[in-house]
Symmetry: C2
Subunit: 205 residues, 2 copies
């Protein structure tokens, strides 16, 4: 029987990757779980235990080879390929997302943009021609798009998510400030600065 890996572990792997990139920048070739732990404010034991779900990547007495471990994590997280994404909503927020430089350098490309507003359809934004939402289904299928980015007003967001799901999307990155729902089997991540702030004020004077 398959042992399944806790989701908290998967959520930490990208942080390990960030820390390893930092090690690379510092010219480090080998890093120990203790050193990684200092950078990430995690215990060494947690890092070792997390990695042990996937294999043995370290050398006793030494630590982990920075490049090798980064490569393994990229493979585990399926970051050793390009991921095609579609943006829904090309208003102010959607345009800012298209201009965000860090997606493409990390293997995530927005290759299609959609809007429900006929006035937007056909316009060029950041090198993409805005398509009518009715073209969503064939475009997702033909162009191998697995991730949808939702950047529409809150009132429309759940409908757009439902539409993406109905068209076979596998994951949604939701920028709308709502409680979004997706069926089991579809993955959802929310980018919501207001929710982040609301959980922080509790601790402030």
């Amino acid at each position: 029987m398959e042992i399944s890996i806790p989701e908290v572990v998967i959520l930490r792997l990208p942080l390990y990757l960030r820390a390893l990139n930092l090690c690379s920048d510092e010219g480090l070739e080998i890093v120990s779980s203790r050193e990684l732990g200092v950078k990430l404010q995690l215990t060494p034991a947690q890092i070792r235990k997390d990695l042990s779900y996937f294999g043995k990547f370290g050398k006793q007495g030494k630590g982990y080879n920075v490049k090798r471990l980064a490569g393994e994590l990229r493979r585990i997280l399926k970051l050793d390929r390009e991921w095609a994404m579609a943006l829904v909503g090309v208003g102010r927020l959607g345009r800012a997302i298209l201009n965000y430089g860090h997606f493409s350098t990390e293997g995530f490309s927005i290759i299609a943009a959609f809007d429900t507003d006929p006035a937007q359809v056909g316009k060029k934004v950041s090198g993409l021609t805005v398509q009518n939402i009715s073209e969503l289904r064939p475009t997702l299928a033909d162009r191998g798009i697995s991730i949808g980015i939702v950047a529409v007003p809150p009132g429309e967001a759940q409908n757009m998510i439902n539409l993406l799901v109905a068209c076979g999307i596998q994951a949604v990155l939701n920028y709308a400030p709502i409680v979004a729902r997706v069926p089991k089997g579809v993955r959802l991540r929310d980018i919501d600065p207001v929710t982040a702030l609301r959980s922080v004020t509790y601790y402030l004077r």
Copy 2:
């Protein structure tokens, strides 16, 4: 001795607030933990247990008064006041943050903007005059700013966070794609779509 409330609970309270707002929009006056659980994909028991850390807000046999519970949560999370924020970095990302409409409607106002680039200082962006970073300390103190927003390139981000901390900031909302560190007592929240995506591809085909 004070019993301290688990951080996971605090992280869920803003979601409860979102769900309650949705109930309000639907014209609901009373909601049960079961109904909230359906909206949030959480178990009713978890919602009741979470709320029980703070008091008894429900009516047996009925449920929770939507308006009343929303009000209590706002009070608990200290959202019954205005929070002043300072933005550091007025490049493309910083400007998009200034244009993001959902902060001010939720009681979070960006009332000062800073940049290290002398060419930016003195310019007006979204109604704010960009200030020299050297004015950070007096401005935070004089204007009662408790939250700093970091939107500078990755290489400068940790330095800017250190500076904010040195100037007495209580919380940092970090948009830079780095592993950021803050001392104990300062709260950090990261807004990082690439990290969100990296944790999602693991589950995709």
